[in-house]
């Protein structure tokens, strides 16, 4: 079975632009979480979705939004990009909402110029 997949692998944007990142969870997994990892730090929680509903949100501005589709794939959207949004964006999937193991995708490396 395929693991968690993310697209694109790399992305370069300029300040003020909008970006959409995509994630497909492991088959059978119903929960997707998004994390931001800036250079030299550990990943920071952004969102969790389960059964297409938002179940958790981290301390990120409203410029960040996400959604989950009926096939459990997910999109992370970031509006009005800032230089500080440059980071590795990681998607994790798990079977259920909580109390189970998370598996991470390879990430999307976003550079904002």
């Amino acid at each position: 079975d395929a693991g968690v997949t993310q697209s694109p692998t790399h992305l370069i944007k300029t300040r003020g632009q909008h970006v959409t990142l995509r994630c497909s969870p492991i088959s059978g997994h119903k929960s997707v979480s998004w994390y931001q990892q800036v250079l030299g730090q550990g990943p920071q929680f952004i969102f969790q979705y389960y059964e297409k509903e938002e179940r958790g949100r981290g301390n990120f501005p409203d410029r960040f939004s996400a959604r989950q589709f009926p096939n459990y794939s997910s999109e992370l959207n970031v509006n009005a990009l800032l230089l500080g949004d440059s980071a590795l964006y990681l998607c994790a999937s798990s079977l259920f909402w909580g109390g189970n193991e998370q598996f991470f995708g390879p990430g999307t490396r976003l550079t904002v110029l």
């Binding site: 949100r57 909402w97 909580g98 193991e101």
Partner: protein, 110 residues
Amino acid sequence: GIQVEQSPPDLILQEGANSTLRCNFSDSVNNLQWFHQNPWGQLINLFYIPSGTKQNGRLSATTVATERYSLLYISSSQTTDSGVYFCAVELNSGTYKYIFGTGTRLKVLA
């Protein structure tokens, strides 16, 4: 909020040496995972260990939830063990989010 501290922050070993990485957390948690992040950024699952002891080859881990710490043991280290090791704890506060530790950067020399 919960604090998740890892020690040591940096570690340099000769190939074949053993090491112990520690993760301390300041509050009760639902779950705990250990990850190895390779140079390309991929987080590789090592252990899902809310409590007790597990072993996988040269690696083993122990979590003592009542005392709020977990240990990752690496024996007979290899150069491919180099990278950053993170522990992550899952909170049970209405939102089942994972909080990552500060990381241990390991370099194994040939």
